[in-house]
């Protein structure tokens, strides 16, 4: 079973890397870009068949290691 985790910065947390990307895009002529936020994408291959259990397990991973919940949110997608 595969789990996909998106880790994103919480609203209001300054994102210097997103800002740098935004500036670069402006410099390249992509004037429509208003704001850029950069995050992380993590794929996990799990030895688990029960999607509910898999999600709970990944939830614990996110809280303990994959995300720092002081500054980050996470979203979990589990593929059967």
């Amino acid at each position: 079973m595969k789990a996909k985790v998106h880790v994103t910065l919480k609203n209001g947390v300054l994102d210097p890397q997103g800002k740098a990307i935004g500036n670069a895009l402006h410099g390249m002529g992509f004037g429509a870009v208003k704001d850029v936020r950069q995050g992380k994408y993590i794929e996990l291959e799990l030895d688990e068949r029960d999607p509910k259990k898999a999600r709970e397990e990944v939830e614990r991973m996110c809280k303990q290691l994959l995300a720092n919940t002081v500054i980050e949110n996470y979203r979990i997608d589990v593929d059967a």
């Binding site: 300054l14 210097p16 994959l66 720092n68």
Partner: protein, 227 residues
């Protein structure tokens, strides 16, 4: 004072730290590998600088879960003094020993130079040898030193006098180095026995290396924790 320095794979500032401690206490600190739980009985535990576990995922994130950290947390809760410098500070926040997070520097560059710090408070066991308001010069060497915490946490840190070091100019006026909230360079936990700071006081304890402004921290620790 007996001390131990925790070494993670990727730690690289333990030697300067050991020299600074030896100079202040006359005793060789124990160097302890991160994978065990056999931390000797000491008065001071140091989490030194470096790039523990390659700083993958987030700086200090994996070091915070090293086997020895459970014991470090237990000792800290019992009141043992912990000094966490640079990568050690990052690991200490990740481990929940200190509030906040060290984010990438606002300028996205690795900063390696001397900075000025204002000692905000003279507080044993860490800054008792400095007068409040003293400006010292010590080096920083980090990519992720941008201290962030929500407004309530920052207000609480300030209100409780837990900001011990702030980045400043030579005259003591606040100065931005890496984007840190309220120019914070070093904080203590609620109990006052865990100090986290990004700059490296251990690198300025010998006149040969350009000054001794960092020596007071180690002399203060040696005095306060003399057994």
């Amino acid at each position: 004072m007996k001390s131990a320095i925790v070494i993670f794979p990727g730690t690289n500032r333990e030697r300067d730290m050991a020299l600074a401690l030896k100079r202040a206490t006359g005793k060789e600190p124990a160097l302890v590998w991160h994978s065990g739980q056999d931390l000797p009985k000491v008065d001071l535990i140091v989490l030194p600088g470096g790039f523990a576990h390659g700083d993958y995922l987030r700086c200090g994130a994996m070091a915070a879960h090293s086997p020895i950290m459970a014991e470090v947390k237990k000792r800290a809760e019992r009141g043992v003094t912990v000094l966490a410098v640079c990568n050690g500070f990052q690991a200490a926040t990740e481990a929940g020993l200190l509030p906040g997070v060290l984010m990438p520097n606002a300028g996205l560059k690795f900063i390696c130079r001397d900075v000025h710090l204002k000692v905000e408070r003279s507080l044993r066991p860490f800054t008792g040898r400095y007068n409040a308001g003293t400006v010292i010069r010590v080096p920083v060497a980090h990519h992720d030193g941008n201290f962030y915490a929500d407004k309530e946490t920052l207000d609480r840190l300030e209100g409780e006098g837990r900001v011990l070091f702030r980045y400043c100019g030579p005259d003591g006026s606040p100065e931005d180095v890496n984007g840190s909230a309220r120019h914070i360079a070093g904080i203590v936990n609620e109990r006052g026995n865990v100090l986290g700071m990004m700059p490296h006081p251990e690198d300025l304890v010998d006149p040969l290396l350009g000054g001794t402004d960092g020596a007071g921290l180690f002399q203060g620790l040696a005095e306060s924790l003399a057994a």
